[in-house]
């Protein structure tokens, strides 16, 4: 097998076209990966700005800066933008860049659809953000948009929100179909499943999860649309429906979704830890089985988000035990990472620092998750800042640190230049410290009973909230440093070798840095 790169139009020298049309019309997996990554970075700053507004309001008790209505809009859009605009597109961007190179494929399987799945994302988010300027303001019902808040009591712009979610879903589904097809159909000869790099493995399973649950989310918003505008009563008990039904449908999507946001990070961190420990990953096979069992289990735990809505006791018990089961494969992974590092000759470059922090802090998030999984205890924790602490520990020093680690790790392959190691380490330490200042005290205020999703709070929470806000501001500012480091690497970095890291294994390190526009037009032989 070799690849024919069609070059009848502007693609003459197998290089990119010039100007804006390169990005609008591209079918190249590296270009599209770059687009995804920059888009997600932009969304990270937008969602981050909203978080800054939230933390400024919560800096002191009392109503300070924004109205409660606007606060709700900030909170909702912060969540939506971070989940669907920052974390997910960043992983898809990494997949686009890395998976074809890791499996020795010339490009993604369906390149034109690949372009489409990216370009409808700005459409979806453009529309979502434009609702702020429409009558009634943007969505204000929380990122989980529970009915009837999002139906009976929603602002009129909810219609646009619904269609924006449809488009995001379409983008994810097309992206996932592409990724699955690429992995199943385009591996280089000799690359059997059990020789596949772990990042590719995690994405194979993530893509499967996405195709399975994004349509369910589409179903949920469609039911909302019908209830709001066409008189149906899915979520209205007066007609025989049930608002709790919304929560079931949403969380049937929602719980797999949280694993969608962490599995690719597992893959990235596995690569980085083996590279910088200079040892092959410990327990590769068990890693694969652990990812697969997490994915399967994630379909039968959703109602742990709903312990307090009034479920039969059998339901409480079922969802409590299945949720706890997930801790087992998760524990296997943590154990494997630690064992990989054990007796390795470790060096602490920036990607490794972020990965080690990932292992430690993600575990904290997993442990608070276990606490929440205990149904009777969750009656106390539910809808408090303890939950906010839990999911920010798994998402910020979890998913986002994973992404940042991956960016540092592969950046030299993309730009051809090293990043500034001193600045990178500064970025790490500032992020590491401020992320803990921000999210650790949330456990305390949560346990003490501070509810989530409120613009004001009781006086006894004042000190901790000020600490949290200060941490958040530092964390926010620190990410500007990240932007600077990336720009510096693009424009003024030291030339990188093709291997980049001593001890880096995998096909992506066999091509030049920066990776040529087209790689593996003839597939490599994998032994």
């Amino acid at each position: 097998m070799s690849a024919v790169i069609d070059s009848h139009s502007d693609d003459h020298h197998h290089g990119p076209a010039k100007g804006i049309t390169r990005w609008l019309y591209t079918t190249n997996h590296k270009d599209i990966g770059t687009l995804y990554l920059w888009f997600s970075f932009l969304m990270l700053f937008l969602g981050g700005a909203m978080a800054m507004v939230i933390r400024a309001e919560l800096f002191e008790p009392g109503s300070q800066i924004v109205s409660p209505e606007f606060y709700n809009q900030m909170l909702t859009n912060h969540g939506l933008i971070m989940v669907f605009g920052a974390v997910m597109p960043a992983f898809v961007g990494l997949a686009n860049w890395i998976i074809p190179m890791q499996i020795g494929a010339p490009d993604m399987a369906l390149p034109r659809m690949n372009n489409l799945s990216f370009w409808i994302l700005p459409v979806a988010f453009g529309i979502l953000i434009s609702t702020f300027f429409m009558e009634g303001g943007g969505p204000n019902f929380g990122w989980t948009f529970y009915a009837p808040l999002s139906t009976t009591y929603a602002p009129p712009t909810v219609t646009f929100f619904i269609f924006a979610v449809h488009i995001m879903g379409a983008s994810s589904i097309m992206g996932s179909i592409n990724i699955i097809t690429t992995i199943l159909n385009m591996r280089a000869p000799g690359m059997t499943f059990m020789k596949m790099p772990l990042f590719t493995w995690t994405w194979l399973i993530t893509a499967y999860l996405l195709i399975a649950v994004m349509p369910v989310l589409a179903g949920a918003v469609t039911m909302m649309l019908m209830d709001i505008h066409f008189g149906t009563s899915f979520f209205n008990a007066a007609g025989g429906g049930d608002p709790v039904l919304f929560q079931h449908v949403f969380w049937f999507f929602g719980h797999p979704e949280v694993y969608i946001m962490i599995l690719p990070a597992f893959g990235i961190v596995s690569h980085i830890i083996e590279t910088f420990s200079r040892k092959p990953i410990f327990g590769y096979t068990s890693m694969v089985y652990a990812i697969a069992s997490i994915a399967i289990l994630s379909f039968i735990v959703w109602a742990h988000h709903m312990f307090t809505v009034g479920m039969p006791i059998a339901g409480e018990l079922f969802f409590m035990y299945t949720t706890m089961l997930i801790a087992i494969p998760t524990g296997v992974k943590v154990f494997n990472w630690l064992s990989t590092m054990f007796k390795g000759s470790i060096s602490f470059e920036t990607p490794m620092l972020f990965s080690i922090a990932f292992v430690a802090l993600f575990t904290i998030g997993g442990l608070s998750g276990l606490m929440l999984a205990i149904a009777p205890a969750d009656f106390q924790y539910h809808d408090t800042y303890f939950v906010v602490a839990h999911f920010h520990y798994v998402l910020v020093p979890g998913a986002i640190f994973g992404i940042i680690a991956g960016v540092y790790y592969w950046l030299p392959k993309w730009t051809g230049n090293m990043y500034d190691e001193v600045l990178g380490k500064t970025h790490f330490w500032m992020s590491f410290i401020s992320v803990n200042i921000t999210f650790f005290p949330m456990h305390f205020v949560g346990l003490a009973g501070m509810p989530r999703r409120i613009p004001d709070y009781a006086l006894q929470f004042a000190d901790f909230n000020m600490v949290i806000s200060i941490g958040a501001f530092i964390f926010g500012l620190t990410q500007l440093l990240f932007l600077f480091i990336i720009l510096k690497s693009i424009f003024a970095g030291k030339q990188a070798t093709s291997e980049v890291w001593e001890g880096a294994k995998g096909l992506e390190w066999t091509v030049a840095s920066p990776a040529p526009y087209h790689t593996f037009e003839t597939p490599p032989e994998v032994k």
Binding site: M1, S2, I5, L110, P156, I177, M186, V216, D242
Partner: protein, 300 residues
């Protein structure tokens, strides 16, 4: 995974960005049209019409491009496998979309309605609407003033009356059409083009009959039976499940119409007819959904 032909990577293309533009128009058009439903003088539906024009033209040119490339022999076996897998996973995503609605129906029938009627371990236990009786189909909604329940329902009327029951004829059409399209495909594979064309036309006739009967059923529901979208949870689940299914039948029928036209114009060969095969999988998929639907929406 490793045959010796080459994988075709298309050059940059204008099609996807136009599609993205079409989808943007669609969201704006659909959003404004729906929000303006109570304003008769609104003309936001023009955006929606423009959106459909863009989307359909892009489909036309996109598939045209793919067909041209295929005719030029640019597609290897491996690339064709990508198309096959892409289609299969797309159908899987559609299955999951229907799953959401089946889940809703199941939840409502097994839990929500009985609880509203007072069943269960002291759950809602009939506190909200005392006197509401849990039956399925729900003919009297908990709050009749907000959601006027239907006068009649679509349930299976017993074998004696099955001849007057539209879903029976619908099932007959759709199941038969799954057979006829298989015959057509086999004929094509044997190179028997006349038989192929004949059974494709038969499939289309059956498919469109289904759509017609479904329309008739909706007309009856609205006109004689008081069964509407607003008739409480029975109407809600009935119309959404059959409606989305009907929508998919329409899509499938459009795909198959195009395939038939292409067939008449001499497209497809014995071993190269992916467009037709994909359309036929899609058709089988809507058939399977229909059978499930008959069971849980109409019969049980």
């Amino acid at each position: 995974m490793s045959d010796q032909s080459s994988y075709f990577v298309p050059a940059s293309s204008r099609l996807p960005i136009w599609m993205a533009f079409g989808l943007m128009l669609f969201v704006l058009g659909a959003g404004y049209t729906i929000n303006d439903l109570d304003k008769p003088d609104s003309n936001s539906y023009w955006i929606l019409i423009a959106a459909f024009a863009v989307i359909f033209s892009v489909f036309f040119f996109w598939f045209g491009e793919v067909i041209k490339e295929n005719d030029k022999g640019m597609y290897s076996d491996q690339l064709n496998r990508s198309f096959v897998m892409g289609m299969q996973w797309f159908i899987f995503s559609e299955v999951m979309f229907f799953f959401a609605f089946f889940l809703a129906l199941g939840y409502v029938r097994i839990f929500a309605v009985p609880w509203l009627g007072g069943e269960g371990e002291k759950a809602i236990t009939n506190m909200l609407w005392p006197g509401f009786e849990a039956t399925w189909p729900v003919m009297q909604t908990p709050d009749q003033s907000l959601f006027q329940g239907p006068k009649e329902n679509m349930n299976f009327p017993g074998f004696a009356n099955v001849g007057h029951w539209l879903p029976f004829w619908n099932t007959l059409c759709l199941v038969t059409s799954s057979g006829t399209i298989t015959i057509a495909e086999h004929a094509l594979k044997k190179g028997n083009r006349t038989t192929f064309k004949f059974w494709m036309v038969m499939t289309l006739i059956l498919g469109f009959t289904f759509v017609y009967l479904q329309g008739l059923e909706y007309y009856e529901a609205y006109d004689h039976m008081g069964l509407t979208l607003g008739a409480g949870i029975y109407g809600t689940t009935f119309f959404l499940l059959t409606g989305f299914h009907g929508f998919h039948v329409c899509l499938g029928a459009i795909i198959l119409t195009i395939m038939t036209i292409r067939g008449f114009r001499g497209a497809f060969t014995k071993d190269d007819h992916f467009g037709l095969a994909a359309g036929s999988w899609y058709w089988h998929f809507v058939d399977v959904v229909w059978i499930l639907l008959v069971l849980v929406v109409y019969v049980f």
